[in-house]
Symmetry: C2
Subunit: 313 residues, 2 copies
């Protein structure tokens, strides 16, 4: 989607400059989160070694750290200190990684490669991958519960956010279960949006809301962030589907075209490329409109939306 | 172990009377926990239906509800109201059930039957069983986080207890990973105890401690409860191994002799039946000795230890 939108939304020079600034900012968030994850995860030398190796294999697999970065950016927009945000950001990445490990299992999507490397059950074994995912979920909740930089009330609010967004019926696992059911039948546009809203959107929304909660956002601000992040989550999924059709294996770090092969419902499959492009542009516009309701320095959140609209991998 | 110990520890009439009283008390706890679980779990009519059916299939499979009962009994010994205990008790049962669902998977223990019924992945499918386990773990933390009968500080203490006891390296998943490693090599008595301490003991200890935490036990009382519950957890595992050798399939609701077949390290396998009986008696004695340090009405906790020593299924 890059070229078309880069030209319609803003001048290319400004776009490139903003992208470079954002990329260095996201690289900073990523580095910070990875240092913290490294200190939170059990060492590979701690017994039982294999499961800790498997956990680190999957957590340090070159992920974009999108959810933690969004949490950090949102929290900072509301004036929260980085060190009050970073552990909760790591907790979201742990839940995201656990879901990838379990998604890749033979009984689920049966993926051998992720980001160009063997998936957890291929590198280790299925039992270890199941347990590594289980342990990462547990550690996510433990990490927030033990974050003594936050008040107990705040920690409880964050655990509530994370658990609702990760579970069923209103969260990620609910979305994965819906997605599985959808593989055996035809879904329409509304059903596809519902699957994505739960499967990937819920955790993205909860990450942004958690940043805002730590930053003590008002109810009205929290509602605007929820609306922003819902659109960003939708945009993320639309561009994901789009890239599965258009991108190269090298850009993606996985085999493109897999969605179509496995009969997964996708935006391009249901609506065609032109309507998919239009839906992405609309989600981007709606995300930015939501930010306009907040009187805070949200420029970075706007650039994150731009960045996703134009991403190539 | 029943007859030998019933005669040495107490007169049979008293033993039978105490057992009957305890059984009706445990039945009461079980009923209470099941009513609450029923209200906490998504309905089977809520979409996506299959995963909610799978969750309820496994949660309502006739379990003994030992961890919740221990939590309720401990909390009541410290004067906590039942309705301040019951949701946390349910959270422990959710984590226990999730671990059984994942343990039974083909890549793990590959069990087709549990408590005389098809296991979750047999009744539904593997992907649904993986997700049902994942969702139950999430719901456990959500349940405590949303229990507004408890102060935020208490909820955080409980989530910390539960997550440490469920995770790795110092909890259930760590124990399962150790157990898997042990299947491929010879283990000694100390290693066997370490596996059990983590795999089943940690959650039992955390259940008892959680009851005590809700009951606002002092540090000294909490230490005594930890010691009591560690011995009860050990006793539980020793009698489990013992029953796998001596009990009938009907008593167990699963195939006895499975441990020996699968080369699992067990107490009878390592130490023989006589030493196993002696180890059970010692764990029981040590559990009761720990209770003597607490000036609270702990009679019910003592009877729980008696009950496990003499259990037949």
């Amino acid at each position: 989607m890059k070229h078309q939108n880069a030209k319609t939304k803003m001048g290319s020079d400004v776009f490139i400059q903003n992208t470079l600034e954002l990329e260095s900012l996201l690289a900073g968030s990523r580095a910070l989160v990875e240092v913290e994850l490294n200190s939170l995860l059990p060492s590979t030398a701690t017994a039982p070694e294999k499961i800790h190796q498997a956990i680190r294999w999957s957590v340090f697999a070159g992920g974009k750290r999108f959810r933690p970065s969004l949490l950090l950016a949102t929290g900072q927009a509301f004036g929260a200190a980085i060190n009050s945000l970073v552990r909760t950001a790591c907790a979201f990445e742990m839940v995201h990684t656990y879901s990838l490990i379990h998604d890749d299992l033979p009984a689920m999507d049966d993926d051998d490669l992720r980001r160009g490397r063997p998936t957890c059950h291929v590198r280790f074994d299925e039992a270890t991958a199941i347990l590594a995912g289980d342990a990462l979920q547990t550690l996510a909740f433990q990490t927030i519960a033990e974050d003594d930089r936050l008040k107990a009330e705040t920690r409880i609010a964050l655990i509530t956010e994370l658990s609702r967004a990760a579970g069923t019926p209103e969260g990620m696992v609910g979305g994965q279960a819906l997605d599985m059911e959808a593989e055996t039948r035809q879904v329409n546009g509304a059903q596809l949006e519902e699957i994505h809203r739960l499967k990937t959107g819920a955790l993205i929304v909860a990450a942004a809301r958690s940043g805002a909660i730590i930053g003590e956002a008002s109810e009205k601000e929290l509602a605007a962030i929820t609306s922003y992040a819902s659109q960003v989550g939708l945009l993320f999924q639309i561009t994901d589907d789009f890239l599965d059709v258009t991108a190269t294996a090298e850009d993606l770090g996985k085999t493109p075209g897999k969605d179509a092969q496995s009969n997964k419902a996708t935006y391009p499959g249901l609506f065609g490329m032109d309507e998919t492009r239009a839906a992405a542009a609309k989600a981007h516009r709606d995300a930015c409109a939501a930010l306009n309701q907040i009187k805070r320095p949200t420029d970075i959140l706007r650039r994150i939306a731009d960045f996703i609209l134009h991403r190539t991998g």
